[in-house]
């Protein structure tokens, strides 16, 4: 095992022992049968510039000096390939996506191991120890880690979980779509919030409409607005339909009036109407936070009928855990949970087990108050009613608590400086 930071700068000597130069970079190739790239050549910085020498002509690589097997003059010119990875130039110090933990990190060092006569990239070091090694303080780092009982293994990730972000001029981003699709939308959101605009554009274009909608729901509203600039109005309309109405409303609220109207016109009438209704309310009130996708039933149903009904409409609803009971004029008269429903005998009328004293908020109730109510009664969602007790929607607990919980500082910074615009 060796680290690239230790190898770079080591002398490379010719067959007869004369010094050619020092090791400058390693070229690795990926093979379909290996998950880890294999070192295929080295770049030597000599007095006449850089020379590339194939790995097969080296007597040893992971040694104090790197001797050649045959005279350098006999070695044919190295044919580089498109897929070659230059470890120092393309990987070291660059940002990569750690697809295992779903985050963007910086490569502090690269770990190499010998496998069956080949040298293979095993891990990348993203930890503090990697930095310490680069500045020649590895021993101090290890001593401190031991002293303070820090775990050093967490600083490395296996190459299998690494996707390099190639930062060349054309901004190609080599993230395979299938790897992205496996990630949770909130992980994708975290990754793109760490990238620049052009880069997150590349990632987003690899997602399908449903993934895109779910990812958009996870990012901050002002960031959403910058993301959707990557897409045509038609695509965005499809995405907005896929999003839950309350999230779609928040997004649309961030847009200029003209763009918002255009998008609403392109959306299906039913979804567009729901959003239009929600847009009328202040962003931080129950009306602005609520979603209209809840499940309600009439009081004349029994448990079995209700379960049947849920099977039909549950797909559309944001939350089916609570079933609300409303009369013909949509006045809220009761609520029961799924567990109430399942425990009840099939033919029991729902009015027998529903809770009649329903905790609800009004359309103009402020977010702080909703959060308090949600926390106090331990609710997953709270119904929103108007002055005549007619039900308009529900605010889910995550939406109610969303802006009250502190988020990471990094997201604050753009807010802070963007405040005056």
């Amino acid at each position: 095992m060796a680290f690239i930071s230790e190898l770079i700068g080591r002398p490379v000597t010719d067959y007869d022992g004369t010094r050619i130069g020092v090791l400058k970079d390693l070229i690795a190739r990926t093979y379909a049968e290996f998950s880890h790239p294999v070192v295929d050549a080295i770049i030597v910085h000599g007095s006449d510039g850089d020379i590339t020498l194939p790995y097969s002509d080296l007597a040893a690589l992971l040694s104090a000096a790197i001797p050649l097997k045959r005279p350098a003059v006999d070695i044919p010119k190295y044919e580089s390939r498109e897929s070659d990875i230059r470890l120092v130039e393309d990987v070291l110090d660059q940002q990569i996506i750690d697809t295992d933990d779903a985050r963007v990190v910086r490569v502090n060092d690269i770990e190499l191991v010998r496998v069956n006569g080949n040298v293979v990239i095993s891990n990348v070091d993203i930890g503090v120890l990697g930095i310490m090694r680069r500045i020649g303080l590895e021993k101090l780092g290890r001593w401190a880690a031991q002293r303070f009982k820090a775990d050093l293994s967490e600083g490395t990730i296996s190459w299998e979980f690494v996707e390099p972000l190639t930062h060349d001029q054309s901004m190609r981003l080599k993230v395979p779509a299938e790897k992205l699709a496996d990630l949770h939308p909130s992980d994708i959101a975290e990754i793109i919030s760490n990238l620049s605009r052009a880069e997150h554009g590349e990632i987003l274009h690899k997602l399908d409409i449903k993934q895109l909608a779910e990812t958009l729901e996870e990012v901050e509203p002002d960031f959403q607005a910058s993301i959707i600039e990557h897409f045509s109005d038609e695509t965005m309309a499809d995405v907005l339909e896929e999003m839950s109405p309350d999230e779609a409303t928040d997004l649309l609220a961030e847009l200029p009036d003209a763009r918002r109207q255009d998008l609403l016109k392109l959306m299906e009438t039913e979804e567009a109407d729901e959003v239009r209704e929600l847009l009328r309310y202040e962003e931080d009130t129950a009306g602005g936070l609520m979603t209209t996708e809840y499940v309600s039933v009439l009081p004349n149903m029994n448990a079995a009928q209700t379960i049947e009904h849920l099977r039909k409409v549950g797909e559309e609803a944001e939350l089916v855990y609570y079933v609300y009971v409303t009369d013909e004029e949509e006045r809220l008269i009761g609520v029961f949970s799924l567990s109430d429903l399942i425990i009840a005998q099939p033919e029991t009328p729902i009015t027998e087990f529903m809770h009649k004293r329903v905790v609800s908020v009004e359309l103009d109730t402020e977010q702080n108050e909703i959060a308090q109510i949600v926390a106090k009664y331990n609710l997953i969602a709270v119904p929103v009613v108007d002055s005549e007790n007619r039900m308009h929607g529900i605010v889910t607990s995550d939406d109610a608590l969303d802006k009250i919980l502190p988020t990471a500082w990094k997201k604050r910074l753009p807010h802070f400086f963007g405040a005056l615009e």
Partner: protein, 433 residues
């Protein structure tokens, strides 16, 4: 911003100067942010001492500094818009860990100096308003900390507004003080109207470095690039962004100009010159805005200085933390949110506490701190410029948007000049010229 100002305008319809400022600010937009952030408490103190001690001749370097500010900020902005990476990102990726660490340490020292000046300004304010210093400083540090963790639009706006109104009082004071305008303006072109004694020359050099360091800051170079990174700007808006940075530079020094003229008119010609009375207290510095504020000059100065200090106290430590994460990329994953914030909080608190401790050294006034720390800022500048110039001159990185020969030569010459001036400044201080 515009909505906020409209409502303010309605409330203060009767009051002409508030209305005018509001209009000016609404036109300036993001450039205002950059400009306001540059003129912190350290700036107020440095310009005050420059005007009081040296008079109008210190306006001469100001014009060149403005130009250098515009060109270097534009370079930083262009670099990020073209490469899509921050300045710290690029330094790390192109020059590795050692260089990154070196520059980060430089930035941290410079920032720590600036934060010390901000804390010192808060102490000065506490003295002027007769509030016990220690609880006041601790209180302000706590507020700054809460402010950072919670972030608040309205308060940000209010503080920026107070600061900008404070600067406007200098403009009005400068006009009302009836300064010798021909002398002031001619000094923008060539320094004149004083006798160039060796004592004056040394002060001119040291304070000139201070003016440079408070106008162009190392953190400002990192700030502009992360600003461009976070904003919705792309290559197509390059021309507009360039105009924006020039405009911001002009605006910053527009205020600086009047601040120097106001203090020069009020103090320099009244016995505060080289070898005369030393500017040491807030009350003395407040005399500069007396033509406008009259008897309330001290109170107004205290409030303005406090707002400027608070702004610096929030922005400067943030820039250290932000640069740290760019350089070393120690961001955590979603489930280690606390871990991720921990590094930031520790960095932030340590900076504030160290700065607060430094200010407890007795007998050093805000104005001493300001000159010392802003001179230090200036000395670290060439280090940042070196990499900024190298990166923006790289054809491979910048393509068509590579520096033209003027941009490259002007900034290189300026960096060399700053290095020479730094050597002389250190010599002047060490050898007590």
């Amino acid at each position: 911003m515009i909505n906020f100002l409209t409502s303010l305008r309605e409330k203060w319809r009767a009051n002409r100067w508030v209305r005018r400022t509001a209009v000016i600010l609404s036109v300036f937009g993001p450039a205002t942010i950059a400009a306001m952030a540059d003129n912190d408490a350290g700036g107020v103190a440095t310009y005050s001492i420059a005007g009081a001690t040296l008079g109008y001749p210190i306006l001469f370097p100001l014009l060149i500094i403005t130009f250098l500010l515009a060109v270097t900020q534009e370079m930083g902005m262009r670099l990020t818009l073209v490469t899509r990476r921050g300045l710290a990102d690029l330094i790390r990726e192109k020059y590795g860990v050692k260089v990154s660490l070196f520059i980060f340490v430089g930035l941290m020292i410079a920032n720590l100096g600036t934060i010390t000046t901000e804390v010192s300004a808060i102490r000065t304010v506490s003295g002027m308003l007769n509030i016990p210093a220690t609880p006041f400083v601790i209180g302000m540090l706590l507020i700054a900390f809460v402010f950072i963790t919670k972030g608040n639009y309205k308060l940000t706006q209010s503080i920026m507004l107070v600061v900008s109104l404070f600067y406007v009082t200098y403009i009005i004071s400068a006009v009302k003080a009836n300064p010798d305008w021909s002398l002031a303006l001619s000094n923008l072109v060539y320094p004149n109207g004083v006798s160039w004694t060796s004592k004056y020359l040394v002060s001119y050099l040291v304070i000139g470095m201070g003016v440079l360091g408070t106008t162009i800051t190392p953190w400002g170079q990192f700030f502009i690039s992360s600003f461009a990174f976070d904003k919705k700007m792309d290559k197509d808006t390059l021309k507009y962004s360039q105009f924006e940075t020039y405009w911001g530079a002009l605006l910053t020094d527009f205020f600086s100009f009047f601040m120097i003229v106001a203090t020069a008119a009020a103090l320099n010609s009244h016995g505060y010159g080289v070898g005369g009375i030393q500017l040491q207290s807030g009350e003395q510095a407040a005399l500069a805005i007396r033509p406008f504020a009259g008897e309330l000059a001290s109170e107004l100065f205290a409030v303005g200085l406090l707002a400027a200090a608070f702004m610096g106290l929030v922005i400067v430590p943030l820039s250290t933390a932000y640069a740290f994460s760019e350089f070393f990329g120690l961001s955590g994953s979603l489930d280690t949110d606390f871990q991720k914030s921990k590094t930031f909080y520790i960095l932030f608190i340590v900076q504030l506490v160290v700065a607060a401790l430094i200010t407890t050294i007795p007998g050093i006034s805000l104005f001493h701190f300001a000159i010392a720390t802003q001179t230090l800022n200036a000395m670290i500048l060439p280090l940042v410029f070196f990499y900024l110039i190298k990166l923006t001159s790289s054809k491979k990185l910048m393509g068509l948007h590579v520096n033209n020969s003027f941009q490259k030569n002007f900034t290189t010459a300026a960096s060399v000049f700053i290095v020479i001036a730094s050597v002389f400044t250190v010599a002047a201080i060490v050898l007590k010229w």
